[in-house]
């Protein structure tokens, strides 16, 4: 196990507080925790790809970074306007 996989394991552990935050609190609390979980997932994917030495997997974290943040943004706008 190299240092990248150790870092990815630690980053995946950081998803635990985000998950706890997602399942409790108000809607805004949950949205903040969801955004934090999304960012942690992107970073964990980045380190997993580096740890497994699969360069093609970088496109996965790139796609997630490009798509996940605007989707959370859209969700926030939708929630504010209609719910």
């Amino acid at each position: 196990m190299n240092v990248w996989l150790l870092a990815s394991a630690a980053l995946l552990l950081c998803l635990v507080p985000c998950t706890v935050g997602v399942v409790r609190g108000t809607s805004a609390d949950r949205l903040v925790a969801l955004a934090a979980a999304t960012l942690v997932c992107v970073l964990a994917l980045l380190t997993i790809e580096q740890g497994l030495e699969r360069q093609s997997f970088f496109d996965l974290s790139l796609a997630m970074a490009v798509l996940a943040i605007p989707s959370t943004l859209l969700f926030a706008r939708f929630y504010r306007r209609w719910l």
């Binding site: 240092v3 870092a7 507080p17 809607s27 934090a36 970073l43 580096q50 943040i69 926030a76 706008r77």
Partner: protein
């Protein structure tokens, strides 16, 4: 362990500590506006540290290094907008 590997390990350690503290802050803080402050280091500091580590491992002009730095740029660019919108949602939902 070479000097480059030591620097990469230190950058990854800093990134993991940043993420852990930010996630703990997101969980512990009371109001959504307080929690939003902890998204900043998560979106701006940790991706840049990991991007620099990847760029050091592969070289800045290699495909993986450029992609990692681009991911850090995308996250840093979108994070203030996301914080702003979530803050507006929290403000709209706040009890008078």
């Amino acid at each position: 362990m070479s000097a480059r590997e030591a620097v990469i390990a230190a950058l990854l350690l800093l990134a993991v500590v940043t993420v852990a503290l930010s996630c703990t802050g997101v969980l512990v803080m009371r109001t959504p506006l307080q929690r939003l402050h902890y998204l900043g280091p998560l979106a701006m500091v940790a991706p840049v540290l990991i991007g620099i580590a990847v760029a050091l491992a592969h070289g800045v002009y290699a495909g993986a290094g450029l992609k990692a730095l681009f991911i850090a740029l995308v996250l840093a660019a979108f994070a203030p907008v996301l914080s702003h919108q979530t803050g507006q949602l929290a403000d709209a939902r706040r009890e008078p």
